[in-house]
Subunit: 340 residues, 2 copies
């Protein structure tokens, strides 16, 4: 029997009913119910009093649909498919239909999606779009399990995620260049506040320091991670009198921009300039020369994220709340010894 309002027994006590009565938001009530932090003590006390007064119980296992959800901020042309295929493969194994949502450039459809998802009651959500803490709280309130894919920002300790070993990948890319004999190694890195770019940069720095090489500020560029940005940043690096003999690009798109800048500067890859990327997009093998890059196992990460989210949905305790799958360096034709 669901709890009902003692003054009006026809009215079931839901989370939103408690929220309304307490004069707080639904996420706040959910936080109290789920014993999560971030609620002022007096608010918590007020909500708990109402929960006790009404005898509200989290419904034990609401029936979930045989759908699962995958949400993107934007489906990137070059790596979106890898993720989609991985999730799709795992969903098929569990005989779940896959609902795919893209929030679009302005994120305007997040609100619709939240509403739709709460009513669809999917088996789980794989969340490339990250979402805000408040949005995640709405999912928790409805007992919809989710896993964050490739976190861009710090998460609370109890938020499940699947990522890649970005730090180790940045380190191995840089060590590969050092082992070839490079000393002046530049890096084009992404915005520092995006966790995965920071990890890649820290891997670069760690490898440089480990080899006793200085990290010269002039050789570290910051860029948004598009081809155009990579092109502009590489142009500046290559115009320096003491130009680098190798560039580690924070992702493959940036590496494509480096190719472009090298071509314009009349530099041959890898004879005059070595280039390493990060991601191993399917197109890197088509480049001329084929790109040496850090392989990020996107499809496997997608499968792992789906399996974790479904395990959470079955009420299982995860052995690890977060997992980083190993990156591996794929050596192709864009790296060689530095010019003599």
């Amino acid at each position: 029997m669901p709890a009902t309002d003692p003054d009006d027994p026809s009215r079931p006590v839901t989370i939103s009913y408690i929220a309304q009565t307490a004069g707080v938001s639904v996420p706040t009530v959910s936080k109290v119910i789920n014993g999560r932090p971030g609620v002022a003590a007096d608010t918590r006390a007020r909500v708990e009093a109402l929960i006790n007064a009404y005898g509200y119980r989290k419904s034990s296992s609401p029936s979930r649909s045989n759908l699962m959800e995958l949400v993107f901020p934007a489906v990137e042309s070059l790596w979106g498919v890898e993720i989609i295929r991985g999730v799709q493969r795992a969903a098929r194994q569990h005989q779940l239909g896959l609902v795919l949502t893209e929030f679009g450039p302005d994120g305007s459809s997040i609100r619709y999606w939240i509403d739709d998802t709460l009513t669809r009651r999917p088996a789980c959500v794989v969340n490339v779009a990250q979402l805000t803490e408040q949005e995640r709280e709405l999912l928790r309130a409805k007992d919809i399990p989710f896993v964050v894919f490739d976190p861009t920002h710090e998460l609370d300790d109890d938020v499940a995620f699947v990522g890649a070993t970005n730090w180790a990948g940045g380190r191995s890319a840089t060590r590969h260049l050092i082992q070839l004999g490079h000393r002046r190694i530049a890096m084009i890195s992404g915005p520092d506040q995006v966790l995965l770019f920071r990890a890649r940069f820290d891997g670069y720095r760690s490898a440089m320091e480990g080899a006793g090489l200085p990290v010269e500020p002039a050789l570290v560029a910051r860029a948004e991670m598009s081809q155009e940005d990579g092109h502009a940043a590489a142009r500046r690096l290559l115009a320096r009198p003491d130009r680098p003999t190798a560039i580690f690009a924070g992702n493959d798109l940036v590496a494509f921009g480096v190719y472009q800048a090298a071509r314009e500067a009349g530099l041959r890859i890898p004879a005059d300039l070595s280039v390493v990327g990060f991601d191993d997009l399917p197109v890197t093998a088509l480049m001329d020369p084929p790109l040496t890059t850090v392989h990020q196992p996107l499809a496997e990460m997608a499968v792992a994220a789906t399996e974790m989210a479904l395990a959470l949905g079955r009420g299982e305790r995860l052995a690890q709340v977060g997992v980083e799958l190993a990156t591996t360096l794929t050596v192709r034709g864009s790296t060689a010894r530095p010019p003599a």
Copy 2:
């Protein structure tokens, strides 16, 4: 007016009446009506026959869900995203969730998908996977509207489709080369039984004939449309003593293979060899040199297919049962005058 038993018009047809008549439980009938799983196929068929015979209508909610479906044989890395984004954009406009399915290499999940889709009762299906006539019949039987995306084979006259002007595209690619002064123009075409490749080839032939140029069988290669096949076919063409000065590739992947073969043969693009592709995948602009190619408006085609399918679902008559959206030639750096 609720439906009534034809043998006893005073008796309204309720769920329990259908259950009793079918010899099943009320929950079973409810599952069938609400499109939920867990009913044996023959039972479901029996119940549905009764529902149809009595003209039973669920009183409150519409028969179709607020989902739509997009089905792929396989989500191709390079062009799948364009289609997904187009369909997703149209779905969002209509506040529909998008269920995405990939049948996988062996097509083994087609059967599951058909069953799931029939129970999900989506608003419509955009069908990149083509499906067999029999499978399409199953959708029709359930009144699930669908549109075939980029038909690979002849369809019956009443099957709605959205394609691209493949013939006109093949013609404009070839005329571009002729106008640059090329005479020995090879084509690497796809399997003749795939309609869109045949149309592209016929466009090539039409342009050649229009300019009074012979279509030399030795300069027409047939290949599967992968990069590897393009590479192999181009190698053979470029090894000929009377090698072509230009190659029209049946798609962009094949053009990438042509680039590879040209590089290996020491031929510069476009100085020694002009290359035109077909599709205008996002990566073509990244190639060195950027590829001249026939732009196929995949995202717009996807939007059009979705809108058509939804119009069918609203019971509207389509002005045209099939539509081909115009291709346009995108001239980049891979075409030039033939070598003197």
